[in-house]
Every structure is written in structure tokens, then in C-alpha cells.
């Protein structure tokens, strides 16, 4: 134990927290707004809502075939559709950590903490690899 005073929180943690908070808010806002437009019919979906109950119980490969849903980054071409516009918000949520990690690298470098700067770079590389769509499963 080391006393009753609250210890200071590291600068990089506070910066990470700030970016994380705003990025998560942005992603959620985009996803929820697009979803609201989708379910109210303002932004029609690639897959009509009324047909979904007949599709959402199918295995992935069959669903993709029957709904002509693209894989990889091809979904970006359908971002004007309500269902895929919602996925854009999800993509922001899944990308927030990249921005957070990038934001703290300068703090580590300023302190000469190259190990943690390198760890951040590697973590970003892993996230970008996952997001690239290079790694796929053939059904």
C-alpha cells in the first residue's frame, strides 16, 4: 500500500482515453443514425428488411449467395444502402484503436520509450492487416 492520495495517470493513457472516447462516439453515432434511416425506410437496404427473417438463419455462405452480398471491401460500394451504411459505423468502431495507438506514439517517442512506440506500431500493423481483407476464408 502506498497512501491514500490518488496517483497521477500517465499522459499517454489520458490521450488514448480522449481519442477512444470521441472515436467510439463517432462510430456509434454513424452506425445508429444509418440504422435508423435503414429501419425507417429512408435509406433502403441492399437486403430488404422484410426478407431478412428468411435469410438470417442461413449459414454465411448461403446467405451471401442468396442475398448477393459482397465480401471484402466491396461493401464500400454499397455504402449508400442502409444496411451497409450502418456497417460503416461499425467499421469506425473497429478502427478507433488505430487512431488511439497512433496518438500515443509521439508521447512515447518524446520520452525516448522506443519499446512502447514500437509496440504501438506493431499493434497498428496487425489491425491494418485484419482490416485489409487480404486474409479470407473460401467457402
Amino acid at each position: 500500500m502506498s497512501g491514500s492520495e490518488r496517483p497521477p495517470v500517465a499522459e499517454e493513457q489520458l490521450r488514448y482515453a480522449r481519442v477512444l472516447e470521441w472515436g467510439a462516439r463517432l462510430g456509434l453515432a454513424v452506425a445508429v443514425a444509418a440504422f435508423a434511416l435503414y429501419v425507417t425506410g429512408v435509406l433502403p437496404g441492399h437486403v430488404p428488411l422484410e426478407t431478412l427473417p428468411a435469410l438470417w438463419s442461413l449459414p454465411l455462405a448461403e446467405y451471401l449467395q442468396r442475398s448477393s452480398t459482397p465480401v471484402g471491401w466491396d461493401w464500400v460500394g454499397l455504402a449508400g444502402r442502409g444496411d451497409f451504411a450502418s456497417l460503416a459505423g461499425i467499421a469506425v468502431l473497429a478502427s478507433v484503436s488505430v487512431a488511439c495507438l497512433a496518438a500515443v506514439i509521439p508521447v512515447y517517442l518524446r520520452r525516448g520509450n522506443r519499446i512502447y512506440a514500437a509496440l504501438c506500431v506493431l499493434a497498428i500493423a496487425v489491425l491494418l492487416l485484419a482490416a485489409s481483407g487480404i486474409l479470407v476464408v473460401r467457402h
Binding site: V9, A54, L93, L129, L135, V137
Partner: protein
């Protein structure tokens, strides 16, 4: 790309799973269930996905492929919602999280690819077994509020895996350090595979490894575990997204409900003992795990 999704054409070739129920009932039910799960997930030291996948996979009409994709996203949402507060109060430690999250993040990509390649029945059965194993692990694993770490290991010392956190419930600051860092790194690599394969998040495994193996205080373990999930599940979520295994109508209501619930859960973490909500979580997991196992074996479809 051509619009090739005429409702009649789809309905003609697909089973009418829940034709008597309006489509919007299910997203609404998802939102309510995920809000409740979000409240209990963070104080229980789990990511939300471990509750979501067996419960929604067992009792909602969606295929397990989409449930796992959404499961990763709800675990991610829970972690993202709780992360800022946990970092600011020092319950999540960035230094402790980064090396572990890096390996788990990479291995979760492998897990996601394997999970999407396996037949559904195998994944469902394996999920049930995994959930029941988690129940046993959570019920039997000892917890140590403040583990006694006499000295850090060389790698832990080199990575400066130590710190001080303020325990609001006790009204005092606590110094901590970790040991067995190499073993922790290996275990987190395995945890990442399971997280990606089943879409479970991985707080159920993160906390015991951080607390019992590496010797981090229980509250730092729970907070850092939740933060690690934000990195691990991001990687696996991208794999599911790129494979087309994320349905907006499943994912968005789930994510929104979980994020709202997790914000409340993160505030409860500083004032509640984790054991209060763990019993509730164990009961839920037991039922959901049995359901997943029996569904996978074709006994209770």
C-alpha cells in the same frame, strides 16, 4: 453491383424461420437484452461477447455465423465504452495491456478465420463445451484481490509492467507489479484464438491470467482486461466484417444496447465487488452453455 435481392426470390429458396413474428421484434429484443448484459459484463470482468454469443445464439433465430460476428462487436463496444473511464482512473493500464494485446490481437485473426471455415455444428458444439468450461473456470478459480508479487520477472521489469492505482472502495492507493510475463504472453496468444473463433470476447480468461498468473491486482486485471478486448476484438471483428458475417440488423441494436449498458457497468466497477455480479453471470452462462451444446449435438434445436 446489381441488386439481386428480390424478396420473392429469397423467400422461395429459404426456410421461413419465424414468419409469424414481425422482423422488428428481434432487433428490439436484442437491444433490451444487450443493455442488460452491458451492465453486468464490466463488473463481472467479462467482455459481453461471452454472454451474448451463447444467449443470442441459443434463443434468437440468427445463424451462429452472424451471432459470432455481432458477439465480437458487442464485446468490442463494451470495451470501447468502458475504456476511457478505466484509463482515466488508472484501473486499466496501457503499459500492461499493450504487449499482451498485441499477441492476442494477432492470434484472434487466426481464430476468426478458423471459426468461419469450420462447419456450424462443430462450432456450436465446441462453443457449448467452451462456455461450460468457462463456467467451471469462473466458479472454481481463486481470486486474489492483491496478489503477493515478491519481484518482477526480467521481461516484466524491462517492459516496466508496474504501477499504482487508487482503490476507491478502500480509500487508498496500491502499488503493483507483475511476474511470469512470458507465460502470460503465451496464454494471451491462446486466448486470442478462442476470442476470434467463437466471437466471445475474452474477459473470462484475461482476468484469471492477469490476476492469478501474472499477479496484477483484481481490479487492475478486470479493468485492463476490458481494455485489452478493445484491441483484440477489433482485429477479429475486421475479419468477420470482410467476410460478410456482420448483419446490421443484428449488430447495431446489440452494439447500441451494450455500449449504453457498459457505461453504467464501468461506473459500478469502482464501487461494487466483482463477486456480486459473478453469481448472476455464472447462472446465465450455465443455461446458455447447455443450450449451445445441445443445439450443436442436435438434441435441442
Amino acid at each position: 453491383m446489381a441488386f439481386a435481392c428480390a424478396p420473392d426470390a429469397i423467400a422461395a429458396g429459404a426456410p421461413a424461420v419465424d414468419g409469424a413474428t414481425a422482423w422488428w421484434i428481434w432487433p428490439l429484443a436484442l437491444f433490451v437484452v444487450c443493455f442488460a448484459l452491458g451492465i453486468v459484463a464490466v463488473p463481472a470482468g467479462v467482455g459481453g461477447g461471452v454472454l451474448f454469443v451463447p444467449i443470442v445464439g441459443g434463443f434468437f433465430p440468427f445463424h451462429l455465423d452472424f451471432v459470432r460476428g455481432a458477439g465480437l462487436l458487442v464485446a468490442l463496444a463494451s470495451a470501447l465504452a468502458a475504456g476511457p473511464n478505466l484509463l482515466r482512473v488508472g484501473l486499466a493500464d496501457l503499459r500492461l495491456a499493450l504487449p499482451l494485446a498485441l499477441l492476442a490481437s494477432a492470434s484472434s485473426i487466426v481464430g476468426a478465420l478458423v471459426g468461419l471455415a469450420l462447419p456450424s455444428a462443430i462450432v456450436q458444439t465446441a462453443l457449448g463445451i467452451t462456455i461450460l468450461a468457462i463456467v467451471v473456470l469462473m466458479a472454481s478459480a481463486k481470486k486474489s484481490e492483491f496478489p503477493d508479487v515478491q519481484a518482477p520477472d526480467k521481461l516484466g521489469a524491462a517492459l516496466a509492467l508496474h504501477g499504482v492505482f487508487h482503490d476507491v472502495a478502500r480509500g487508498e492507493s496500491v502499488r503493483w507489479q507483475v511476474h511470469r510475463t512470458p507465460l502470460g504472453l503465451v496464454l494471451f496468444t491462446g486466448i486470442g484464438v478462442l476470442a476470434g473463433m467463437f466471437g466471445l470476447g475474452a474477459g473470462w480468461a484475461n482476468v484469471p491470467v492477469l490476476n492469478l498468473v501474472m499477479g496484477a491486482p483484481l481490479k487492475v486485471s478486470a479493468g485492463t482486461s476490458s481494455f485489452i478486448l478493445s484491441l483484440v476484438d477489433s482485429s477479429a471483428a475486421w475479419v468477420y466484417l470482410n467476410q460478410g458475417a456482420v448483419l446490421a440488423v443484428v449488430a447495431v441494436p446489440s452494439v447500441a444496447g451494450m455500449m449504453l449498458g457498459a457505461r453504467i457497468g464501468a461506473r459500478l466497477l469502482t464501487v461494487l465487488k466483482a463477486s456480486v455480479v459473478r453469481r448472476l453471470v455464472l447462472g446465465l452462462l450455465l443455461v446458455a452453455g447447455l443450450r449451445a451444446l445441445l443445439k450443436g449435438l442436435g438434441v435441442w434445436t
